[in-house]
Symmetry: C2
Subunit: 192 residues, 2 copies
DNA sequence: GGCAGTTGCCTAAAGGCTTTAGGTAACTGC
DNA sequence: GCAGTTACCTAAAGCCTTTAGGCAACTGCC
């Protein structure tokens, strides 16, 4: 009975790989056990339950995304930074569709607080330093950018743009152009 | 052994109600059977399998959303139409979170073709008639609007904006202002 | 090096969901 | 009122989750 060396981290890592191969929804405790050639019950010493495993995969994906974002943003500003971060999300979703789905899991408040979510919003806010936006418009813009990045990538990965011209790549580029123009020319509050 | 009168439509309807109550992920064939006080196997004469049931719920939600959109757009144009359709999505997601999740299900190509997806993109395109956008920019704009609507509503419902100022309602309004401004002033293709 | 204690993976078992096969009772129309 | 069809049923197999309790393999200390 040799020991395999299971840890919560290794389980999450294996779950993330599995998610990319078979889809995040198909990642089960049983499937991960199979991958380690270990009995299912053995995993329950390392993760609380199925939900716990899925949450750990989500947290891992969020950290990976944040790491990539930090790297991409280094030394860039303005439109250049905007496009760099946007492409991090889109490229990650294409390379790791299962992990990307995992990153979209609704987290309980505690996990959300411990997640890289804060890093993500800080990165988006960093981009906005290249534009001239005061609060609360800056926060509105953070939310807009988050919505567009997440929304576009989700719709594209769901096949929403497939089989129709123009190419999604072209739309993506033009949408980034448009967002850049919008941020440089953010409308004043008409309510004012 | 009285007959209950099961049909695919009634199962989808019950599934949709269930989704709002317990979450779309928790909607199972067993749970729907329980709601009709009927044995599980009985449902399999009316739906092919679990995936089929879920797809029917998704199609129902997409139709409901499209119906609401059509009603909201009637007699409106420009920014007024933009805000009306946007609010249809957001309000629907708040009133019917389970159905909204269902509407985001990845559909197989055949179901997607038979879905109300086409109505949705035509409605968005109708809004753009109030702005001066030629192809391919019009399609880029359709995709942008779809991304923002879906992205914002998803992030908000996932709790992404909770417990932080300013109020999500305010961001939403300012984002709609910003989109209106952007559409009135869509940047020319820098590529030339 | 050997022993005590701890840890890690195991077997066993119960309960739930999915799906198929085949039976019986309730409707339909002639 | 009867024959045929349809709708729901029982039964059963397979897989996933989760808990309880056991044994073997490590750890560290003498």
């Amino acid at each position: 009975m040799s020991r395999v060396g299971l840890t919560p981290e290794r389980l999450a890592q294996a779950g993330a790989e599995l998610a990319d191969e078979i889809g995040f929804d198909a990642v089960t405790v049983s499937e991960v056990a199979r991958r380690f050639d270990v009995k299912v019950a053995s995993l329950y010493s390392h993760v609380k339950n199925s939900q716990d495993l899925r949450t750990r995969i989500a947290l891992l994906a969020l950290e990976e995304l944040a790491d990539r974002g930090a790297t991409a943003l280094a030394g860039r500003a303005g439109k250049d930074a905007l496009a760099a971060l946007a492409n991090v999300y889109r490229d990650y979703a294409r390379e790791h569709p299962g992990r990307y789905d995992a990153a979209r899991l609704k987290l309980d408040p505690e996990s959300a607080a411990a997640s890289a979510g804060g890093r993500h919003s800080r990165m988006t806010r960093a981009i906005l330093r290249g534009y001239d936006l005061a609060e609360p418009d800056q926060t509105h813009a953070v939310r807009l950018l988050g919505s567009v990045f997440h929304g576009y990538v989700s719709l594209e990965s769901a096949g929403g743009f497939s089989h129709s011209a123009p190419d999604p790549q072209e739309s993506w580029e033009r949408i980034l152009d448009a967002l850049d123009a919008l941020l440089r020319n953010w409308p004043a509050d008409q309510q004012g």
